[in-house]
Amino acid sequence: MATLCKNCSHALVFDPARQKMVCSACGSTFLPEEVESESKQYREDLNAEAMSEVYGGDKNQYMDCYVYACSECGGEIIINGTEASTTCVYCGNSNVVFSRIAKQKCPEFVMPFSVTKEEAIRRAREQIRKGIFVPKEIKNFSIDCCRGIYLPYWIVNAAYSDAVVIKGSVKQGKNSVTAYFGRAGKMTLKNLPIDASRALSDESSSKLEPFELSRLKPFDEDYLAGFYSNVSDVTYSDLRYATLHRAQEFFNEAALEDVQCSGPKVIASRPSVRLENDMVYAMMPAWFITFRYKGKPNTILVNGDSGKVVCGLPWKKVLFFTLLILVGILITIGAFFVFKATLPIFFTSSRHRSGRNDGRGKIIGLLVAGIVALFSVGIRKVVKVIKNINLTQDKAMFNFMKKRQGE
C-alpha cells in the first residue's frame, strides 16, 4: 500500500532532503506524522498470497515469494519473505507491504534517511577519486543501480563475562621469556546495534556504524515510502552469537591492554553473554550503489544518516605489485650497504673476543628477530587489507540489494 496525497491521490514518497513526504505530481509536502493514512488500519489486515497459491504448481518452485497488488496500478508486486517495502515494477510507485511489519513485527524506531541519493553518489565518487590504486574506469564508474534500503537492526543491551589466558614475552634480566597472564572480568554493553538480516553479512553491516541513536524516530511506515526495506529474520542464536563476537573483541582488547608484556595474544577464553530482554527493534538507512567492473558486480554502501562510505574496491594489481617490488628493491639496496658496513664490526669483534660475553651476539640476535618481525608485519598487513577488500565485495551483498523489484 502506498500513502496517497490528500490533494491529488498520487503516491507520496519520503524526501530525505526536506524530511517530508512529497507528492511528485502536485508538489504538496507533508510531515510523516501528519499524514492521515486511513489505509494504515487496512494495511494491518492486508494479506499476501503465496506465489504458489496464485500460480499453482510446486510450492518449492517459487521459494519464499509472495504476491501483492500495487495500490496505484493494480500490478503484481512480487517480494521475498523478508521485504517490507518495495517499488512497483510497472508504475514505479513505492509500496509498503504492511502486513509484514504489523503488530509484533513492527519496528519501534526508524532512523529516516537524511542523505539523499545524489548526495550518497557524490560522497562515494569523492572518496573513490582519492584512491591511488583505484582503476580509472572505477573512478568514473557508471552506476548500475542505486537503492535506498532500510536495514533491520536489534539494538541490544547485554551483560558479558569472560576469563582469558594471555601469552606474551617479558624481560627477565637480560633475557626475554614467555609468560602467561590471566584476566577475568565482566562488562555491559549498551545500545549495541546488531544487523537483523541474515542475507547481509555482519562484517559488512557493522562497518556502517556508528549510528547516532538519538536521531531515531518512533516508527511510522511513511518513512519507508520511496525506499526498500527488510524485516528481521534472525534467530536468538544468531543475535547471541553476533553480540558475543562483538563483546569478545572489546573484552580481548581491554585484557591485552591490561597486561604488561610484548606481543600479547589470547590463547584461551571462556566467554558468556546474556542478552537483556529490553532489546529495541529499529530500521537504519543505507544506500546501496552498484557498478560493474570487468563484468563483475561491486557494491558501495553509504550510511543513509551519517553519509559514511563503506566499500572494498578492485585495485590495480600490476601497479601495486610493481611499485611494491621496486620500492622493496630500492630499500634493500640501501639497507645492504648499511649492513655491509656495520655487520663486520659485530662479527669481527665477536671473533676477536670469542669466549667473552660482550653482548654483541645478543644485538645480532635482536636484529634478526626485529627483521623477521618487520617482514612478518609487512606481509600480514598486505594480506589483511586484501582480505578486507574482498570481504566487502562479496556476492551475497550484491544479491541482497539486486534481487528486488523496480528500477
Partner: protein, 149 residues
C-alpha cells in the same frame, strides 16, 4: 667476506620488503578499503571491570584459570529458545521472563548488606563528575508500553 655479504643481503631483503609491504599495505588500505571502522567501546559503554588478575601463571594455573573464573551468565535465566526468530516480546511475555529471570540461588537484595561496598565504575563516576552521559534510555520507550495507544 662472503658470509658478511650474504648475511647483509638477507637482512636487507627482510628490511626492504618488510618496509615496502607495510608501506604499500597501508596505502592500499587508505586507497581501496573505504570506511573500514566500526563503533568503538565508547559508543557502547563497553568498559571491562576486571574481577581477577593473575600474572606469570604456571601450567596448572593457566589450565584451570578459565574454568575457575568463568561465569555462566545464562545459568538459571529464562529466555526464548535459540532457534526462535527474534521478535518484540508481548508485555505478558516480558513480565513472565522478568519474573523468571532470577538466577538460581540468588536472594532478593535487602538493606541488611549495609557494610557491602558497591563496585565503583570509574568511567561512570567520571561521567557523573563531568556532567556527561551517553545513556540513551530516554530515547527508547519501554517495550511494554502500548505502541498504538
Amino acid at each position: 667476506m662472503a658470509f658478511i655479504d650474504i648475511t647483509a643481503l638477507l637482512f636487507a631483503i627482510g628490511v626492504g620488503f618488510g618496509v615496502s609491504c607495510w608501506l604499500f599495505g597501508t596505502l592500499l588500505d587508505k586507497s581501496n578499503n573505504l570506511g573500514d571502522s566500526r563503533g568503538n567501546k565508547y559508543e557502547y559503554h563497553a568498559f571491562v571491570n576486571f574481577t581477577s588478575r593473575r600474572d606469570k601463571m604456571n601450567k596448572s594455573d593457566r589450565e584451570s584459570f578459565c574454568t575457575i573464573h568463568a561465569e555462566n551468565l545464562d545459568a538459571g535465566m529464562a529466555a526464548p529458545k535459540g532457534s526462535e526468530k527474534v521478535r518484540r516480546l508481548t508485555p505478558e511475555e516480558l513480565a513472565e521472563y522478568r519474573k523468571k529471570n532470577v538466577p538460581r540461588g540468588a536472594y532478593q537484595s535487602d538493606s541488611s548488606h549495609v557494610n557491602r561496598k558497591e563496585e565503583v565504575d570509574e568511567f561512570e563516576e567520571w561521567e557523573k563528575r563531568e556532567g556527561f552521559s551517553r545513556d540513551l534510555k530516554g530515547v527508547f520507550k519501554p517495550l511494554d508500553e502500548d505502541p498504538n495507544p
